[in-house]
């Protein structure tokens, strides 16, 4: 991976823009098409907000976000690491998108949108950390 950028922020929704600014700068530097940029921003928001809401039961903790590019084919990579409770978001069943409005639970759509908008998403728990990696072909 090259052009690597890394930030550490509080796992808090107030920091969403900090993470988004990093992602935007990186994508703009790669002349990313608008559609791929929107899809990537969406996935990043959903993952970051999930971590902010659920990773730390004590209420506060850190998230490390690392971004960079792989070549052949050009791929944008985003890695989220937190020290919160072990949680694999990919293990949840996808929501039933055929349910009527009344039957629909409020929620469960975030990770589904991540899977749908990214080319590759994988989770590992290593050295006491949740590590979620997203890849988007540009």
């Amino acid at each position: 991976m090259d052009r690597i950028r890394k930030i550490e922020t509080n796992a808090s929704k107030e920091e969403l823009d900090t993470v988004m600014d990093l992602v935007r700068e990186q994508l703009e530097s790669a002349d990313c098409p608008m559609k791929a940029q929107m899809q990537t921003e969406l996935a990043v928001e959903e993952v970051f907000v999930n971590i902010a809401n659920y990773a730390y039961q004590s209420g506060s903790g850190k998230v490390v976000v690392t971004t960079g590019f792989q070549s052949d084919p050009l791929t944008f990579v985003i890695v989220f690491e937190d020290n919160g409770i072990p949680y694999d978001p990919l293990k949840n069943d996808d929501p039933d998108i055929t349910l009527s409005a009344e039957e629909r639970p409020i929620g469960g759509l975030g990770i589904f949108l991540v899977k749908k908008n990214m080319d590759d998403v994988f989770y590992e728990y290593r050295d006491g950390k949740n590590i979620l990696t997203l890849k988007k072909s540009l």
């Binding site: 929107m38 969406l42 928001e45 959903e46 998108i97 055929t98 409005a101 629909r104 759509l109 949108l113």
Partner: protein, 98 residues
């Protein structure tokens, strides 16, 4: 985010401008709650919205549920990028999109 409300007889039109994300969606939710009470029909105009995340979808679903007991909610002017999100999540089958 900018929210403009127009009331014409019993129909309320809420035009949204900007991004509907985790940070801004509570503002939209609040604006809708404040005004859904005295509207029979609700129209949400997404002409100037180029981004919506699951937080925004939740607000639209909530508004749809509230208005289904009355004259309904209609979404208008959704851009292609927003329509794709509606389609992938099945919202295009739930919401009245025109």
């Amino acid at each position: 985010m900018t929210i403009n409300k127009t009331k014409k007889e019993d129909q309320l039109t809420v035009a949204v401008e900007g991004r509907i994300d985790t940070v801004t969606s509570p503002e939209l939710e609040g604006a809708l709650k404040d005004s859904m009470g005295d509207a029979e029909k609700l129209v949400i105009d997404l002409k100037d919205v180029d981004y919506i995340s699951s937080a925004g979808l939740r607000v639209l679903l909530g508004a749809h549920k509230t208005m289904s007991r009355k004259g309904g909610l209609k979404i208008i002017n959704a851009a292609d990028s927003i329509m794709e999100i509606f389609e992938v999540t099945g919202f295009s089958d739930i919401l009245d999109i025109g």
